[in-house]
Symmetry: C2
Subunit: 381 residues, 2 copies
């Protein structure tokens, strides 16, 4: 495989509701990313989105964004893996460059959740025949996991709250974060509204609008476009059964374990080499289970990493360094590209007050559905 | 780029309405393709589908088919480009193998259009803000193109009918074709119901259910899996503006011209080298315009190729050799994989009574929306 580099990254501020249309969001972030690299054109545009079909009545979105951004006749394809669509898009963009078919590929994610009702569309990440008719939703599935975790490991009520507190703390240093002005305490998490027991409001990432993109380049092109290319060290995708009852142990995320192992093998690295982790903290329990599946903590011990303050910017394993899904926001199809863009900032020393010192290796993990699809990327400088 | 080979292909019979569920269709064709290659597992499963979101209330389809087929924890990602989703899936599967990231990738398309009403969902291939509110549909757009073509080139009413007659004729030799038992004459085409003037019923491909898959392999693996690997010679994607009025000349399909040119450049071949063409004959006018855009006929002359009988199995350029979209059927997301599978049969001498003699090079073209996305593949033995 040819090497693949991140050479530019742009994001729109995450908002509860943006004045831009979906296509305008996509086109704006496409143009911003290209401008950052001083380019007018690239070889391909791969687009991640989950909900436009339901919320905007629009399919064929990659070509539409190409049209709106003035990128026609570019190669344009849409990529989906439910709530992990952004990371799936990054995966396929990697393959285009790694194969030599393209030198420059824009991986772009966009989601406008403020139009229409997102909840039923999000539930389509679950099995429409075997799960949804029983009332299953992503929140309900995460609540099931959280209750099981709290019970099995006798975790105190405050055990998982520190993930949310950390995310909001870090969002303060990210001008693009939805909750950049909203710090929360453990007490506030525990007193927030009960959404689906035991999940409370502040255990959940917010519904929001956002668009983000990264530009991937071959080694030959990367050098001329930036002085600080970030190398993609690994990209791996794994899947699990949909229904929790069909899994050997729902509290061990098998796809996450496999995806992380594959990524570490590809990169020749291990958990100890990771300087920061952008985790799919759509729910606090998911952040915790991913930390364990990634090999950063023993089963049942992930929450201690947070509770002991080791996930802060100066801790042993900084997590959600610019706010994560919880506080930067989780505009579904765009989320993986926000994660990748934030890693680009961290590894090029552009993360401002949230800079993780001497960060050389970063990992991101994205979750599709109730941990059915797991995608891991590793980056390094 | 590493070379990429087709080593197996399987299809379900196209039906007006199958008794299988969407996931069962996908799983069945996945298992059939693997069985043909004598494999239990492959490295990745890329799935094409356009309508499950609307018709089955299901996203996350690649992982779901993996689950149903017993392929978990395989890498599984869904690929879309509206009505060209099947070909887009093939493109990304190619990149996975060409990059060296995978040795064996299953590219699978599935569509079950018999559940629910497909028309509004299909219209989402157009621009939801600038086209659909004005009543635009895919049929309407094709009617606009057909009327413009008939007027500009003074084509006789029977001019385009020969594309449909040829497709139905060829379907008779394809046990998987929807219209394998329905031959039609030019007169019948011209007397069929007027759907959207000047488009008549027999100018249109049918709504139907289908699933098809091909297995792509690296050179190292291909040799051990089949004695007759088919080499992918080219894969290219191009896009055009959505609205016909934004195009320089709507009757010249700019994306099709570009996509074909790119493919010929990749393969070092030209139109004269093509022994058979699987064309996106969703409408007879589209077959005609694609033949012209591909360089097989001058502008305004494509219809003569059909009217003069040169597109038959023994003609200068055999088209839709196993029935095409018109008569094999057009189960949207699956169509590109049916095309690729049929080319696999032709180039390995397994096309039975429809065998194109001494076929060495085959081309397929897939159309997303109203010729907004154009994807060309070339294969050879």
């Amino acid at each position: 495989m040819n090497e693949v580099y991140l050479v530019a990254a742009a994001q729109l501020p995450v908002e509860q509701s943006t004045a831009l249309t979906l296509r305008q969001m996509g086109a704006a972030v496409a143009r911003q990313t290209l401008a950052q690299a001083g380019l007018e054109r690239v070889d391909a545009l791969y687009v991640a989105n989950m909900l436009s079909d339901d919320l905007q009545g629009q399919k064929h979105l990659a070509a539409l964004i190409a049209d709106e951004a003035g990128l026609t006749p570019i190669e344009a394809i849409e990529v989906q893996a439910a709530t992990a669509s952004g990371a799936a898009c990054l995966r396929l963009a990697q393959l285009a460059v790694a194969s030599g078919a393209a030198d420059l590929v824009l991986a772009l994610g966009v989601e406008k959740m403020s139009e229409g009702v997102a909840a039923p569309a999000l539930a389509k990440a679950l099995d429409a025949k075997l799960e949804v008719p029983d009332g299953a939703t992503l929140i309900q599935r995460n609540a099931e996991l959280m209750q099981g975790y709290l019970d099995r490991y006798q975790v105190p009520p405050a055990g998982l709250a520190a993930f949310s507190v950390n995310a909001h703390h870090n969002a303060a240093g990210n001008p693009n974060a939805l909750f950049k002005d909203k710090q929360i305490s453990v007490e506030e998490v525990l007193e927030s509204r009960l959404i689906h027991p035991p999940i409370r409001l502040f255990d959940c990432s917010p519904i929001c609008d956002g668009a983000a993109a990264v530009l991937l380049a071959s080694p030959a092109r990367a050098a001329g476009l930036t002085q600080q290319p970030v190398k993609m060290l690994a990209s791996s995708v794994a899947t699990d059964r949909f229904r929790l009852r069909d899994r050997k142990d729902p509290l061990r995320l098998a796809a996450a374990e496999r995806s992380a192992q594959l990524a570490f093998e590809q990169a020749g690295l291990g958990p100890d080499d990771v300087d920061l982790l952008e985790v799919h903290d759509a729910f606090s329990i998911m952040a915790c289970l991913l930390v364990e599946a990634g090999g950063f903590a023993e089963a049942g011990q992930g929450w201690r990493l947070a509770a002991d303050g080791e996930i802060g910017l100066h801790g042993r394993l900084p997590i959600s360094t610019l706010g994560g899904l919880k506080a930067r926001g989780h505009p579904i199809g765009a989320t993986g590209l926000y994660q990748a863009g934030e890693i680009f900032l961290q590894l090029t020393g552009q993360a401002g007050q949230n800079q993780v010192e001497a960060a050389r290796v970063a990992m991101m993990q994205s979750v599709g559905g109730a941990a059915t699809t797991l995608i891991t990327h590793l980056f390094g400088v």
